[in-house]
């Protein structure tokens, strides 16, 4: 079954940048399709605990936007879908999108989770909890997922049929096939985001090998109210950590990993997590080992100063190696640059690697959009028009263009919406749009 959709802008990626860009375009009256590969929109931000420097609850900011893109009249939301091919020329792209089978009919499912209650199998949740939580084989991705629709991990399903019986709306369809949608669009906005540096990439740090060496995203899930545990614990024995170390630049500014750039967010998220941990564990000692603290944004320096005032220790020096003792306590080896260059080995309960950002996707082969040496999308004029790509009619926003925080992602989302709108206008003609808008406002009135 193939549908055809004629729109002004296709937004690829349903993270915060993609959602904001979609909303900003749709609010101006443009027809937008938002394609997200995961079963829910929200992206990386939906999994975070709180945002720096305001310490606002992350879910509280993201969820309304997730709902908004799902319910906006001018946005066609396609979750669990992937772009298959991009044809056509500047301003007239034909895009083929595959909707992956959920094995649950999306229009029928009410999100009541009755199926989840009866499903007999638990699987580690790698997508949302980094393997530290679990979900059923049939599951709604997470509590605030949009859309609230179940899907089946078909590879692990034993076809016991319990969900089939439990489903109140007969939504389960084990024979579901992929659906294809052909989209004709004037412009494309790439908001394909980032992935974190694999925490086992730097062998000296023992990530993945030493149990009490975790990465920043895992701690986000421990701190988030929607996380799997709702309390702070360390992986090896579930004990509450009393002495936590943050290892900065554990994946950025390191040529041995091929990453020469600064990921920009790690200093701030480490400081934020340290503050939140200090709140959750008032007796815990928290040390941040850093090369330089880069608190670059509005209110960030004050945030850093607040953390110091709270008693969080900042130690200058790059951690060279992490080993562990017989109780699996991580031992960090570091040169104390500000303390006579002494080399020390310090024991902690838990070591958190502040992993950096890598590009999430290379769009060159499918979209003909080249990337920079660092792998992020190349902009012809990065200073004056950061959201343009090397190809006309294709724009980029958020962390697809380079490492940035949530604030900057939202700013570039607004910027890309403006760029794309101008392009769509110049391409489709101003008059036609005005006519459509008038018509629409008449029908709304």
């Amino acid at each position: 079954m193939t549908n055809t959709l004629k729109i002004d802008a296709l937004v690829v990626g349903g993270g915060i940048a993609g959602m904001q860009a979609s909303l900003d375009l749709a609010d101006q009256g443009y027809q937008v399709a938002l394609v997200e590969k995961n079963p829910s929109v929200g992206g990386m931000m939906a999994g975070l605990s709180k945002v720096f420097p305001t310490l606002d609850c992350c879910s509280c900011i993201t969820t309304p936007k997730m709902s908004a893109v799902a319910h906006h009249a001018n946005i066609s939301l396609m979750t669990y879908s992937e772009v298959q091919s991009v044809m056509g020329n500047e301003g007239d792209y034909q895009v083929r999108v595959m909707k992956k089978p959920r094995y649950v009919i999306e229009d029928e499912c009410s999100g009541c989770r009755s199926c989840e209650m009866v499903c007999p199998l638990d699987l580690p949740d790698y997508d949302n909890e980094y393997g530290r939580g679990a979900h059923r084989v049939i599951y709604v991705p997470f509590s605030t997922a949009v859309p609230q629709k179940a899907l089946i991990d078909i590879d692990n399903c034993i076809y016991c049929g319990k969900c089939l019986k439990a489903c109140t709306t007969n939504a389960i369809d084990f024979a579901q096939q992929p659906e294809y949608v052909n989209i004709e669009t004037t412009s494309i906005v790439l908001a394909t985001g980032y992935k974190t540096t694999p925490y086992d990439a730097k062998k000296e740090y023992g990530g993945g090998r030493l149990r009490n060496v975790v990465h920043g995203m895992m701690v986000e899930r421990l701190l988030a109210p929607t996380g799997a545990y709702g309390r702070q614990l360390r992986p090896s024995d579930g004990r509450q950590p009393d002495n936590i170390a943050y290892v900065q630049c554990a994946g950025s500014r390191d040529l041995t990993l091929g990453v020469d750039y600064c990921s920009r967010v790690c200093c701030m998220y480490a400081i934020k997590q340290a503050m939140l941990l200090a709140g959750a564990l008032p007796m815990a000692d928290i040390t941040i080992y850093y090369m330089d603290i880069r608190a670059f944004g509005k209110g960030y320096e004050q945030f850093y100063e607040n953390a110091k005032a709270m008693g969080i220790q900042f130690v200058k020096g790059k951690v060279a190696r992490i080993t562990e003792d017989e109780n699996q306590n991580p031992i960090l080896r570091v040169e104390l640059i500000d303390q006579n260059s002494r080399v020390v080995e310090r024991k902690h309960d838990l070591a958190v690697l502040s992993v950096g950002m890598l590009p999430g996707f290379d769009p060159n082969s499918m979209y003909g959009v080249p990337v920079d040496k660092d792998g992020f999308i190349k902009a012809p004029n990065p200073n004056i028009s950061p959201t343009l790509t090397m190809r006309e009619g294709i724009f980029a926003t958020g962390t697809a263009t380079g490492p940035m925080d949530i604030v900057d992602s939202i700013i570039t989302a607004g910027a890309v919406a403006a760029e794309a709108a101008a392009y769509i206008q110049s391409h489709n003609g101003h008059r036609q749009l005005v006519a459509e808008q008038t018509e629409r406002s008449v029908t709304h009135a």
Binding site: K318, A320, R333, N340, S341
Partner: protein, 389 residues
């Protein structure tokens, strides 16, 4: 000691090697990963910092580069690929040039023309010596001591040893002056030089610092770099002693039975030198170990001369055994023509000077630390007395 900054220091250092010292952003990874760095000698970052800041006098009086044995962990994990291990190697070459008052070391390290030209010069000088002083060539049987009378060669040996010792020892004195006297943070009592002398002997004999470079391996035979280096040194010292000290005993025309120490000591030294030379050369060609990734001309000259010397020595021995008089005489001449520049140039002015500087650095460092400890104890005692008053 002055803290005056010399903006040309980095440029000068770069002539001695390929380290990317200017890339370093001083994160301290190298020092923290180094198995040999201590609180008193937190290298390599401190040395790199000195170069970046242009602290020529501080670097000149630093013993740290000699305490580094180039395991390469720092270079392998350096986030800036600044090659701190190679930086230490570069500084060792530079320090060798600083200790050498003749200026020849600087010329050899910075100019291939000087390095190769000098070797050729000494070689030609040796050829000339043979032309002047060689005895008659008996062709019916091998009579090496007629062609090259052992006593005459032995005088040459002594001249060579005197030359070499004079320059090496005067450079050693410069090292002592720069590192212990000019950099006197604590007053050094004379007795310490005596009580710590054992450190010098032990480190010359065992090169034990090398051991820490292979932290993951246990045992002498598993620690490959230390083991190979130790055998090479043992062969070298043995051969040097036999050739320079006991030549009349070593260079004979009658062939002793195999169990005679002259035979098996010679064979042991030869095998070890051959293996050691090949090991170094092969390592540098394959560039497998971090310490072999960058090869300065001086790093090539060293194993090549060593191998050529060893091989020509083996040939002399073989031809004599096969009773081929002319071949024996010519290879013997070639042997000396290669060997002499190696000893005369490389030991006092070149890479081989490290045989003196490395154990001395360990010795000097031990003295420095002991002196500092004593001073601290003394200061503490004075403070305690003052407090009770």
């Amino acid at each position: 000691m002055s803290n005056r900054a010399d903006p040309n220091l980095l440029k000068e250092l770069k002539k001695y090697g390929e380290a990317e010292i200017e890339s370093c952003f001083n994160c301290g990874n190298c020092t923290a990963i180094c198995p040999l760095a201590t609180d008193e000698t937190p290298f390599p970052r401190n040395n790199i910092r000195m170069v970046q800041l242009g602290l020529r006098d501080r670097l000149m009086s630093s013993l740290d580069p000699w305490l580094c044995y180039y395991c390469g962990d720092c270079s392998a994990t350096c986030p800036r690929k600044a090659e701190p291990g190679e930086a230490q190697m570069t500084m060792r070459r530079w320090l060798t040039a600083q200790y050498d008052w003749t200026g020849l070391a600087r010329k050899f390290y910075t100019s291939p023309v000087w390095e190769i030209g000098s070797i050729l010069f000494v070689s030609l000088f040796m050829v000339w010596m043979f032309v002047l002083f060689a005895g008659p060539m008996e062709t019916d049987h091998v009579a090496l001591n007629t062609f090259a009378p052992v006593q005459r060669i032995h005088y040459g040996d002594w001249a060579l040893a005197a030359f070499l010792s004079f320059f090496l020892l005067s450079n050693v004195f410069r090292m002592y002056w720069l590192t212990l006297r000019k950099d006197a943070k604590a007053k050094i009592p004379f007795l310490l030089y005596v009580t710590e002398a054992w450190t010098l002997v032990r480190h010359f004999a065992t090169q034990k610092k090398f051991e820490k470079c292979d932290e993951n391996q246990k045992g002498f035979f598993q620690k490959k770099r230390w083991r190979n280096h130790w055998f090479l040194v043992s062969g070298y010292v043995l051969m040097f002693a036999m050739v320079v000290g006991f030549l009349p005993w070593f260079q004979t025309d009658n062939i002793y039975p195999i169990y005679h120490p002259q035979r098996w000591l010679g064979y042991y030294a030869t095998i070890v030198l051959l293996y050691g030379g090949f090991d170094i050369l092969w390592g540098r060609i394959k560039q497998e170990h971090q310490s072999h990734r960058f090869s300065h001309l001086s790093d090539w000259i060293f194993p090549i001369l060593l191998l050529l010397t060893t091989i020509s020595g083996i040939m002399v021995h073989t031809f004599r055994y096969l009773d081929l008089p002319l071949a024996t005489y010519y290879t013997y001449a070639a042997h000396l023509v290669i060997l002499t520049p190696m000893l005369v140039l490389e030991v006092p002015f070149g890479k081989w000077s490290h045989l003196a500087y490395r154990p001395l650095a360990v010795y000097f460092q031990a003295i420095k630390e002991k002196a500092k400890q004593r001073q601290e104890v003394a200061v503490g005692a004075v403070a305690a007395v003052a407090a009770t008053d």
